[in-house]
Amino acid sequence: MVGQSDGRTVGRIIAAAVFLSVGPTVRPSDAQDTTAGKIVYQKWCAGCHGDNGAGDGVGAKHMIPPPRDFTGAIYQIRTTASGQIPTDADLMRSIDEGLHGTAMPGWKTRLSDRERRDVLAYIKSFSSFFADTTQHPEVLQFGKEPSGGTSKEALQVGRQFYDSIGCRKCHGDQGRGDGPSAPTLKDDAGHPIFAADLHENWRFNGGPTTTDIYERLRTGLDGTPMPSFSDLLDQKFLTETELWRVAEYVHSLSPSEPPVVRDVIHAPLVTHALPRSPDDSAWNAVDTYWFPLVGQVIHKSRWFAPAVTGVWVKAVHTADSIALRVVWDDRSQSPDPDWLAHVGRVLAAVQSDDSTPEQPALWPDQLAVQFPVAIPTGMERPYFLMGSATGPVYQWRWVSSSRDAAVAGLARGIERFDPLPQSGVAAQAAYDHGEWRVVFTRALASPDTASQLPFRSGRAIPVAFFAWDGSNGEHGTRMAVSTWYFLALDEPVPARVFISPVLAMVLTLGLGLVVVWRAQQKTSYRRQQ
């Protein structure tokens, strides 16, 4: 029997238990807790953004662009006017999705809703601007994209305003970030910064869609040289539709879908002459393959900020020769003295792991295509990073300072390259508005089968790519690398492949008919009896 006083005691105990267990975890869903946020921040964010939010974490010295410095409350991706602080939704978007084309990943799947809300609150606490009640961030009215944006006429209008409002000054005539002002660009902190390559919208910090681009035109990317173009609308120099046309034109420069890696380059057999020039019209009919490149971070001196982020590759072969065309975006035709100051800024911004920091110099652009010395019989391939002392790889190397030539040789590790005599590899290159196009050609057969790979059809030939942008301070081990992919020399499918099944079908049908006819003959014979 439980008395009344005992009942009260039980009640208190239960209440206390509920208080202790539920209390600390139940909160309104939109509450933010900077104390909890700090724990999340220190675990996941401080490595790059620094303990005090100044963008100076241990990882910061390896990055271009560097991590955000939260102390100034200057944010690129906003829906507010230039100069205003961002909204919470703006910050949450960057936390959730990350910033494409930078080291900032998306955290939506890595952290819980609450963790992201809490860390957002903590990040805001680094700057007094968020606590300043005179700051009133207002979301701009962006309107809706007008119809007809992908028509030829609309894109022409977009192109016209792309020129007239000066986009080309930084982003270049063809949009590859190679405009006349591009080499001088710095962010607020004086770090080197590239004008975006508008042909790679999957790397746009603020997202790839036409709406994303329009919003960035309206808000600008604060902290960077990219200004807001809203005043053009407010002062009636441009209509909203015209500014949308600029966004649509910019969007049209990139592929409709981000490139997808297909592992095997198919080189069809062609009966016409081998296309030795990068602009031979024969290349138009050939399929393109894209391969991502990343910084070489295995071997000293490491390189975390490569400028070449991918190569587009096509290949064909004739009965006796092969042609391989590699195309990549590069903002400068190095060595280019206009970019020397930029090289200096890059070297100053990125920590070198050499004992003596390098002096800026005018390095050329380079490309290397790598194969094994012989087509491997099993799954074993040489070390992808330029082989090793005992397991060399066969490479074609092209340097922009002697653009219509290539050298073949054996690489024995990243620091040793031995050119081969009579290599027989030729190259032709073209530079056009921020794009290198280089064609390598060689005979399929090789006079020196011990070190120069003979190309054969019917076998997957491992291939890898390396690129250097001299105007980004890249040379030696400071380069962009790919892993192994494959090249396949396709043979035309023999006629028998098509004829045999037809023959088999005809034969089967004939035999079937004979069997049926015989069976019918027997049946009618029995009936007659």
């Binding site: 009640g11 239960i14 509920v18 139940v26 230039s82 100069g83 660009l185 040289p225 120099f237």
Partner: protein
């Protein structure tokens, strides 16, 4: 009995939720610092004291790089000879122009001064800012205009004020901006034309000046007192001087920078 226990539990539960909620909100939006109590507007009498002086430098003026305006024919055409950078604008006898001179200490604490209604104008003309160095008060309008038929962007790099970056792609565009906090200096730059820089001294009081081509400056209407004046130069850094003003007298404070 059971009802009572549940209500107690429920009540405590609600209390917990509420108190946590408030705590959370407080953390999200920390209380704004109390607005400074408005001190009485001080008498800026036109009969105050004056500080005048000349700014000079010792040593050799650095050689100024010629600006390559070949990308901008419309700007290039405005100069009979190729223009040079404006990092050190020297006059006869090593006079130094474009030095921002202001009273950095000595004014009565808490005094406020009326904000001038007339805006300060900065013009982008010939791919240069005019003026190269300027001063204005907190809350005073800065009118930024473009007289060039081409794209300029105006990026303000500031720490105490909100930085911004706006574009003026055509002649005839204007934009008014104001600054909310004193800051020496707010840096204005154009990223399209990397040589274009301007510096704005933002002050809470009207006691500032920019040295002219002969290096001279005048700060007027100062109430009696002992002042520290600070001189800021883009390349040579800062110098300070102390001046005591009694009544309506005019005092001289010459400033000398060392060229570096």
């Amino acid at each position: 009995m059971k009802v009572r226990i549940l209500s107690v539990v429920g009540g405590l539960f609600l209390l917990t939720v509420c108190s946590k909620g408030e705590k959370g909100n407080a953390a999200a939006a920390p209380a704004a610092p109390a607005a400074p109590t408005a001190a009485p507007t001080s008498d800026v009498s036109s009969a105050g004291g004056t500080i005048t002086g000349k700014v000079k430098f010792t040593g050799t003026a650095p050689r100024l790089a010629t600006i390559d305006m070949s990308e901008e024919a419309a700007c290039k055409a405005k100069y009979p000879t190729p223009p040079k950078e404006e990092t050190v604008v020297a006059g006869p006898g090593n006079a130094l122009a474009d030095v921002f001179v202001y009273v950095s200490a000595g004014l009565p604490a808490g005094a406020t001064y009326p904000t001038p209604a007339t805006p300060v104008v900065i013009d982008q003309n010939g791919c240069r800012y005019h003026p190269h160095v300027l001063g204005l008060m907190v809350g005073q309008k800065l009118e930024i205009k473009n007289s060039d038929p081409l794209l300029h962007n105006i990026k303000a790099v500031a720490k105490k004020n909100r930085p911004f970056n706006v574009s003026q792609p055509t002649a005839g565009m204007t934009r008014d901006v104001t600054f909310t906090a004193p800051e020496v200096m707010v840096h204005l730059e154009c990223n399209v034309h990397g040589w274009m820089h301007s510096f704005a001294g933002v002050r809470p009081d009207p006691f500032f000046a920019v040295s002219g081509p002969d290096g001279s400056f005048t700060i007027k209407d100062l109430p009696p007192g002992t002042y520290t004046i600070e001189a800021w130069h883009e390349k040579f850094g800062t110098q300070t001087a102390t001046v005591t003003i009694a009544g309506t007298e005019s005092k001289t404070a010459n400033i000398t920078f060392a060229a570096k």
